[in-house]
């Protein structure tokens, strides 16, 4: 190889390089689309589960919404507070600490407690059973037991007990609400982790009917309401409800007084 070919090579590549880079830099100016660099940073901080709990199509969509000010970091129920505050920092927002929510299954109607109504022979999902005949168990309000909530959980935080009742792992639960959506009977609700007293029943049938389908149904006897002097429990439409606003921190828990044991303490006081 002689000097001239090296020379030609350098010249050629130089010219080519110059022509194309000039073209590109002009094009990049003419055709540039402004993209907020914060979006990628925020995507990195979001959990990336694309669970949709924030109401957007996924973490990337959420990031865009955050940058455009349509959403707040707190709308993501899944991300940990550290990342949320980092996102807030990027956005220049103050983030308010919010209490973690977890899912609670408001039913105790497993196969021991709930009566069996009939043999169900259709598609083995709660929703399908709910829409056709109501599934094999007798209570029209309670758990069907085919585990739609379990399949819906993106965090593996809900499992089926031996007797066919979903159990929430309160540590793993992020409060994304997928199970709440999945349950056709609406027996799963999100509650702040500091709440421990629950009426684990959703049956609004008359007491006779309720008792006939499930051992642990609320029979709206009103003992809980009387025991707390109306400050804590109220029976509305055949069902006792906890009034969390009025509920004092150290209540006289009527758990032992409830004749069907449907008032229960869930979780350990003090957990976060």
């Amino acid at each position: 190889m002689d000097i001239s070919s090296i020379f030609y090579a350098i010249i050629t590549m130089g010219v080519l390089g110059f022509v194309f880079s000039a073209g590109l830099s002009i094009a990049s100016k003419k055709l540039s689309v402004k993209e907020d660099p914060r979006i990628t940073k925020i995507i990195d901080l979001l959990p990336g589960a694309n669970c949709g709990a924030c109401g957007y199509a996924g973490c990337a969509a959420m990031a865009e919404a955050l940058v455009s000010g349509k959403a707040e970091p707190a709308n993501c129920p899944v991300a940990n507070s550290e990342n949320l505050s980092k996102i807030a920092e990027i956005l220049g927002l103050e983030v308010t600490e919010k209490e973690r929510k977890v899912a609670v299954v408001l039913c105790q109607g497993d196969t021991n407690n709930q009566k069996k109504k009939a043999e169900y022979l259709g598609v083995q999902t709660c929703l399908a059973a709910h829409l056709v005949g109501g599934g094999p168990r007798a209570c029209n309000w309670g758990c069907i037991g085919y585990g739609d909530c379990i399949r819906a959980c993106p965090f593996d935080a809900i499992h089926m007990s031996e007797n066919g009742l979903p159990v929430v792992d309160r540590e793993k639960c992020t409060g994304c609400g997928k199970c709440v959506e999945a349950c056709p009977r609406n027996i799963i609700e999100l509650h702040p982790i500091s709440r421990h007293v629950f009426v684990l029943c959703k049956n609004r049938d008359n007491p006779k009917l309720a008792r006939s389908v499930c051992k642990t149904a609320c029979i709206s006897c009103g003992i809980c309401e009387r025991a707390t002097g109306g400050k804590g429990f109220k029976v509305i439409n055949n069902l006792a409800e906890v009034d969390y606003d009025l509920y004092t921190k150290e209540p006289v828990l009527p758990t032992d007084k409830c004749p069907t044991k449907c008032i229960v303490i869930v979780g350990n006081p003090g957990e976060t």
């Binding site: 009939a118 043999e119 829409l131």
Partner: protein
């Protein structure tokens, strides 16, 4: 006579011989009835009687609460025991009026009250129909008075009486046409008059030659009514198929019969309208076919609304075995009942008891793409595709493929060699698509 029909569909074995020659029998007044306040499409009625109140058969006990709603009447003489939630055949328990029968007999409003209807105005007739709590008795239970008041921008030119009764086993409509021929024809006249249409057709499947003959004879002197014979094919009685067969008009996807200027009513509804307008008798009882190999004596019964299934089945000699599937409605679209305590409601066209419940659990194979379902779907859908999309939770795609157009006739699942519960999957899909639309 030319035999008309629609495209696709199936022809299941009929089993109508069990009851088609048995005249309608009246069920003795039951000891108690449970009358749900929700027996129709639309908002539930509001109770207007108190606990402990004495009521008479035909008395209004529930008032309509909206444009699409209906009145509810006591079906026996007696006393209101409770008004509380009770089992409902469609699943969730609902507010139900529990009436216990009084000792005295139950004289219903009799024919002596018969009055001529020709003098009544259109509005009066519609008002009587509304007050009588008449809803579509074919099973859809859509309030009839709403159907008879179509919006102004949808001119109606034709009325079709649906006498197909394409569901296997059921013979209630068939018997009504034979046993109450004139009343049904009068009912049709009332409807045509109210709608102000020139032409009415009575569509009857040609597996009921006796009904065709009798109805033709009864209408031979009435020029605006024409009886047409239809091919025996399921789901001939579905509104859209019926309109296609009789008039060769296609109801647009997602539309209603009134979009093509047609109103369709069931034979039972026409009879109820006649009884309400002429005999002053609200909808407190209906003809139900109690049939199937699971029941001792299949019958066509006139049953007060609210009678418990158990009472009806006992009257028919009880069930024949242990593994029984009890279906409310026909075998193609009826729903299984988990408890015999549920009451007969306005939409109950049949009580079908089938033996050997265990055998219903057929092995489900994967879809082998045979295309049978596509060949029979009267709506031209791809049932297996929709079912798979629904199973996998791909609602948007399912919506795009027209899942909401499914009329749930069950033809696809009937022919499916893989025994896939296609209709149930599609029902789930429709439910979810509707949910997401909200």
């Amino acid at each position: 006579m030319k035999v008309l029909t629609f495209r696709k569909g199936i022809h299941p074995k009929e089993f109508k011989e069990l009851t088609e020659h048995k005249p309608i029998e009246k069920l003795p007044t039951p000891k108690e009835v449970f009358i749900p306040l929700q027996q129709h499409i639309g908002s539930p009625a509001k109770a207007v009687v108190q606990k402990g109140e004495e009521v008479k058969a035909g008395q209004i006990i529930g008032e309509s609460t909206g444009f699409i709603s209906s009145y509810i009447h006591a079906s026996i003489n007696g006393k209101v025991k409770t008004i509380d939630t009770f089992l409902h055949p469609l699943g969730l328990s609902t507010q139900t009026v529990h009436i216990t029968s009084s000792e005295e007999a139950n004289p219903l409003v009799t024919d002596s009250d018969t009055k001529s209807w020709e003098s009544l105005s259109k509005e009066d007739i519609i008002s009587i129909i509304e007050k009588s709590g008449i809803v579509g008795l074919g099973g859809a239970t859509f309030p009839t008075h709403v159907k008879l008041k179509p919006p102004k921008d949808k001119p109606i030119d034709t009325f079709i009486l649906n006498g197909c009764e394409c569901e296997p086993y059921l013979t209630a409509d068939h018997r009504m046409m034979l046993d109450f021929t004139d009343k049904v024809v009068q009912g049709v006249l009332i409807i045509t008059r109210t709608l102000g249409v020139k032409k009415a057709y009575i569509g009857i499947e040609n597996n009921k030659p006796d009904a065709i003959e009798k109805m033709s004879k009864a209408t031979s002197k009435i020029p605006e009514i024409e009886v047409v014979a239809l091919k025996t094919k399921y789901p001939q009685g579905a509104e859209k198929m019926l309109i296609k067969a009789v008039l060769d008009r296609t109801v647009p996807a997602g539309g209603l019969p009134m979009d093509v200027g047609v109103v369709v009513n069931n034979v039972g509804t026409a009879l109820a309208i006649y009884e309400a307008v002429v005999e002053n008798k609200p909808l407190i009882e209906r003809v139900v076919t109690v049939t199937g190999n699971g029941i001792k004596e299949p019958k066509n019964l006139l049953i007060p609304i609210g009678t418990k299934l158990k009472d009806v089945i006992d009257y028919c000699g009880g069930l024949t075995g242990d593994n029984i599937k009890v279906i409310m409605g026909g075998p193609m679209m009826g729903i299984t009942i988990g408890s015999l305590e549920v009451p007969v409601i306005k939409g109950t066209s049949g009580i079908l008891c089938l033996k050997d419940g265990k055998n219903f659990a057929e092995t489900v194979y994967p879809c082998i793409g045979c295309g049978s379902c596509t060949r029979v779907c009267p709506m031209n859908l791809l049932p297996t595709k929709l079912a798979r999309l629904s199973e996998k939770g791909m609602w948007e795609m399912a919506n795009k493929m027209g899942i909401l157009n499914c009329i749930e006739c069950g033809s696809c699942a009937y022919v499916c060699p893989s025994h896939i519960p296609l209709v149930q999957h599609i029902k789930v899909g429709k439910f979810m698509v509707n949910q997401l639309k909200k």
